[in-house]
Symmetry: C2
Subunit: 309 residues, 2 copies
């Protein structure tokens, strides 16, 4: 199968790099790092073993990518308005497009723009970052869960999961909706609260007031999910997420890094869309609604946060 | 009637000063400014006319105050644990103690400590501040609403309101519970949100997300109040508070000033107590619960807020 990677950052560089290193044909779309990677190749430092791709197939024009069997979309959702033009040539009706992105409502929104493509949610459990042009640093985990949204060929999806796994990327098929809502249980409280209180995961869980708040926000998601019949999102899962975060080193989620580096935050798909869906289902999430409002305010009043009195 | 003022800051200095200037006998308890005011007197700059009290009755020891007919408690509620010792001599069972303080549950908590005193809520609508030792600056408004909590002599309370009004302090008797909850409609959203987002009232109302959030927080208070049968706290009053704040100059509420100057915030009586009362009444206020948690976190992680990235 021919793979293409749209967005060669920490996620796309690592997953695409692993597939290429395992011998698959992988095409990388790059933007600012195109010249560097064309000349110097792609370096992947990984806890699972580092490697260098000397001559990866790289492109700076989406029109030049070949039609592919599988496309990994590894952009931030804040760039999803670009997908119709980015996917125009690389994806046809036989292509399976995997959105390795955060949030809820992502597939619905992309499908609305591109009704004919076959979409799969890719839920990555990984710590990885681009630390320099063409230089990926993979620190931990790496598993990817694939949730079928509109792929008509379940069998090919199994083949993809097998190719991922054989290339060193543990992959499994999961139920689409449950997977996205499960991921939200962690993402919605921690992404926004680290921004709102300018802190990291460990301090939020250390203080009794915010520890309780995080749990209550997670329970809002549980109630909204169960109200939609998604039963795997439950209190037991909440406790598992809290314990897991207790054991992590102090962590800044992606939204905190976006905020700190003055990049757009993924508010729409991490907050607005799931809040809309929960409200439409008759089970609003009031504390997470408040968090969304705070994030919208902070995004438009960035400087406010950083005035020293 | 003999008046005493416990806490001679912006509020106590202004109201006590007005009463003294009108010819009443007023005794002032001071703390850090005692020596200065004893020597130089009390200066009140006011939009209603400035004046100077050359030789006010001042004390730095609550035991020296005379037993008084009326005591104005003008401390922050964060100091209320001191009231049993501060009121021991100045207030007997005939004294009317007026708590000119922010929050809900204030009278209940003071009465629990001092079962025999007669308590009245004093709701001040005023912009005033102590700008230097013995120097009060009164910028606007000045009205005080008196809500009877446990005063057995309603007639004397009317006399007090008249003496206030004749001394240039417009005063009226109001229904206790409704008055405290009405004041909370403004106090709960604006005090905490200006701290949480490091901003002022005008920017909160300018941004559509926080404007809606403020309104939703106010409506949480309306629902909690109405659930307790307090019908004067309603949607119409919410719209009035929003319009009023739209017309104010950019404003930092007292909690924002406390936070900025690293003084303790009145979280207990502005948030914790009304939240407890609403929850016990079966009508929780989720967004204001979240705000309380954020404030508790910020109070204990002050420096967090002020790291520049």
């Amino acid at each position: 199968m021919i793979y293409s990677v749209i967005g060669t950052g920490g996620i796309g560089g690592y997953y695409g790099g692993q597939l290429a290193q395992a011998g698959h044909e992988v095409h990388f779309l790059l933007h600012s790092d195109y010249d560097y990677v064309k000349e110097h190749g792609l370096q992947v430092d990984s806890v699972n073993g580092s490697f260098h791709l000397d001559k990866p197939h790289v492109y700076n024009d989406a029109e030049q990518l070949p039609v592919s069997d599988v496309v990994l979309v590894c952009l931030k959702t804040t760039n999803n308005h670009l997908l119709p033009s980015l996917l125009k040539r690389v994806a046809d009706e036989h292509t399976i497009v995997i959105l390795i992105q955060n949030g809820i409502g992502v597939e619905e929104d992309v499908q609305a723009m591109l009704p004919d493509i076959q979409l799969v949610a890719g839920l990555a459990f990984i710590c990885t970052a681009k630390i320099a042009p063409g230089h990926i640093n993979h620190q931990c985990y790496g598993q990817i869960n694939l949730g079928n949204y509109s792929c008509k060929e379940e069998e090919r999806l199994t083949t993809i999961a097998d190719e991922f796994t054989n290339a060193g990327i543990p992959a499994q098929l999961v139920e689409y909706k449950e997977a996205r809502w499960k991921k939200a249980v962690w993402n919605m409280p921690f992404n926004g609260m680290t921004v709102a209180l300018n802190t990291q995961t460990d301090l939020l869980l250390k203080h009794p007031s915010t520890r309780q708040l995080i749990r209550e926000q997670m329970m809002e998601i549980v109630r909204a999910a169960q109200h939609q019949g998604i039963n795997g999102v439950n209190e037991e899962f909440v406790e598992k997420m809290i314990s897991m975060t207790d054991e992590m080193t102090p962590y800044s989620p992606s939204m905190k890094l976006d905020f700190d580096f003055h990049r757009p935050m993924e508010i729409k798909h991490i907050y607005t869309r799931p809040l809309e869906i929960a409200r439409a289902a008759g089970m609003p999430m009031p504390k997470l609604e408040m968090l969304e409002a705070e994030l919208r305010f902070l995004e438009d009043n960035l400087y406010q946060k950083f005035i020293i009195n």
